[in-house]
């Protein structure tokens, strides 16, 4: 268990983070961390589909946004229970993933990329024009959610530290579930489909059905991520559905290394923290610089951090011997 120690350290730091918040450093870092947790859940979903199933979605913003809006509408109109909000987010994003999956999984590779992108744009235009969803302004003033534990003892999630632990627990649970799925019989079949779809089909696997199911699971993860962020911020806007979210997801996964679960999670944390640093340094120029960094990343290391690490490893291993040409 070489990885147990770093994992324990990361967990310890995450658990201790709220202690110094507000005194040693600004409360703001907790918000940043909550944003990371929401994206971690989204990225886990993306990685299940793209890293394991081999289908690159360029429209995961639509599930993220749908989860966010479903949670927001539930909190605003039905109940302040965060569990109810999450449940509705799961159901609605699953329903959307069923429909979009049914239509898009007929296609592969770049056609699949297009289709998911097009459907996400459709959803983006939809929330932008639907009055009951606040149209272009979104829905502000969502009441702070509460957390019922064991049917009593309502805990208000409006305190940042409490929400922090809630989001951390959810992200942790999402990771465990994702890991379980990856190690499951179904997870192995997904990898088989990614490696050789035709062979999987001739072994007797209904490839379309498997990929649709992966798409469904992936969409639900993304929806939960969106629900977490919306419940925390207390507002939703069409920006949840914006294609730059889908692109960011792809970026985070690529940087971290797809098909590893941990990689895309690290990628999410890296991109969000880097974005925060850049935006405080560079004011409105930060997205431009971020874009240039992305370009540099893909040009100089097309395989992400994982690729950089592997290259360093290869250099180290090759160092004593003659370097191959």
């Amino acid at each position: 268990m070489r990885r147990a120690l770093p994992a324990a350290l990361v967990l310890l730091v995450l658990l201790a983070l709220p202690i110094g918040a507000g005194s040693l450093y600004s409360d703001f870092y907790l918000s940043l961390a909550i944003r990371v947790f929401a994206f971690v859940i989204l990225l886990l979903g993306f990685d299940l589909l793209a890293g394991y199933g081999g289908l690159i979605s360029f429209g995961h913003a639509m599930f993220f946004g749908t989860g966010a809006y479903a949670a927001a509408l539930t909190l605003k109109h039905l109940t302040p229970s965060v569990w109810a909000a999450l449940a509705v987010a799961v159901v609605v994003s699953a329903a959307l993933a069923l429909v979009v999956g049914f239509l898009s999984i007929r296609a592969r590779e770049i056609y699949f990329v297009f289709l998911t992108f097009a459907f996400a744009q459709f959803a983006y235009h939809a929330v932008n024009s639907w009055e009951w969803a606040g149209a272009a302004n979104g829905l502000p003033g969502i009441p702070p959610p509460s957390l019922w534990i064991a049917g009593r003892l309502p805990v208000d999630l409006d305190r940042r530290a409490v929400f922090y632990y809630f989001a951390l627990a959810l992200a942790g649970a999402a990771f465990l579930v994702a890991r379980r799925i990856v190690g499951s019989a179904f997870g192995r079949v997904l990898v088989g489909i990614r490696e050789n779809e035709e062979r999987a089909r001739f072994l007797g696997y209904d490839v379309t059905r498997c990929l649709r199911r992966a798409f469904l699971i992936s969409g639900v993860f993304a929806g939960v991520g969106g629900a977490v962020l919306a419940s925390f911020h207390g507002f939703v806007a069409p920006t949840f559905y914006h294609w730059s979210v889908s692109g960011e997801v792809l970026l985070m996964a690529l940087l971290g290394g797809m098909g590893t679960l941990v990689g895309p999670m690290a990628g999410a944390a890296f991109v969000i923290v880097l974005g925060d640093i850049l935006s405080s340094w560079l004011a409105e120029r930060w997205l431009l610089v971020m874009g240039l960094i992305y370009v540099a990343c893909v040009l100089f290391s097309p395989t992400g951090f994982a690729g950089i690490a592997r290259r360093l490893g290869a250099l180290r291993d090759a160092a004593p011997a003659e370097r191959a040409p």
Partner: protein, 288 residues
């Protein structure tokens, strides 16, 4: 049901949109056909063309200078971009190209925000292209008619070029099998750059005319790339004919959709696309 005049107006407007869409989507489709790259920054070429066109009209006072120069500047930029960023990635997993072009579109859109600000502007048109002309008994905006004729002529020229010229023959062979073209000793790198540059230039032309017809805004890149993608998905990737057919379908769907189902206009596009994909998942046209 609408009167014949309204139908005709819609039909003309649909054709107008379609002809501009051909200019945007053909570059996207052709570059995919020869090197398998989907350029998500293709919409940015249109937007950059529109903003450059706006500044050029402001500086020179001439719409025609803008219509000529803005696409040339974008073409030059596209050549640099293709050489520096896309070329090293050909043949790799399409994911990297997808991601690179996404990052580039982010760079372009923020560049536009920095240089031109976030405001919506419109490109002034020559006075003789304002107002209305009368065709078949209806009054149609002169500028829209100009866009229709101008874009259609350009599209026809492109079609003739691909179908008749020696370079066009090489391009058609490349769409079919790039390795074969290489085996003939033809400089395929130059071919790819040329297709990329021409595609970018045409997108910029479309950006200028669309910007003058509607408006120029920082979300324009997204609208353009979305429409272009829908066109090529409907029509079939890597096919000029497919781009034309897709544009006609999307253009008329948009114009009639706005008329018949106001409020749902944006959705008509996707309903049409979903229907076509259910019927033919690989698009309508499968040729090179």
């Amino acid at each position: 049901m609408a009167s014949p005049e309204v139908l005709l107006t819609n039909l003309l407007y649909g054709l107008t949109i379609a002809s501009a869409l051909v200019l945007i989507s053909s570059g996207l489709s052709l570059i995919f056909g020869i090197v398998g790259v989907v350029n998500f920054a293709h919409g940015s070429f249109g937007m950059l063309g529109a903003y450059l066109g706006f500044s050029l009209v402001m500086a020179t006072g001439s719409f025609w200078a803008a219509l000529l120069l803005a696409p040339l500047i974008v073409t030059a930029g596209a050549i640099v971009m293709e050489r520096l960023t896309l070329r090293p990635l050909y043949g790799l997993n399409p994911l990297y190209q997808l991601f690179l072009t996404f990052a580039l579109s982010l760079v372009f859109s923020n560049l536009v925000l920095l240089v031109w600000g976030g405001d919506t502007v419109s490109i002034p048109t020559p006075s003789y292209l304002r107002g209305f002309v009368s065709i078949f008994g209806i009054a149609y905006p002169t500028f829209r008619l100009f866009v229709l004729v101008f874009s259609a002529c350009l599209a026809a020229a492109l079609w003739l070029f691909i179908g008749r010229s020696a370079w066009g023959a090489v391009l058609r062979a490349g769409l079919h099998n790039m390795e074969m073209v290489e085996a003939f000793g033809i400089n395929t790198r130059a071919l790819v750059t040329a297709v990329f540059a021409v595609g970018a230039g045409l997108a910029a032309v479309a950006g200028v005319v669309m910007g003058a017809m509607r408006s120029v805004n920082p979300e324009m890149d997204l609208d353009l790339i979305t429409s272009a993608l829908v066109v090529v998905v409907i029509g079939g990737l890597g096919s000029f004919r497919g781009a034309v057919i897709g544009s006609l379908i999307l253009g008329t769907a948009e114009s009639f959709g706005a008329q018949l189902l106001p409020g749902l206009a944006k959705f008509v596009v996707w309903i049409v696309m979903a229907a076509i994909l259910l019927w033919r998942p690989e698009g309508l046209v499968k040729d090179a």
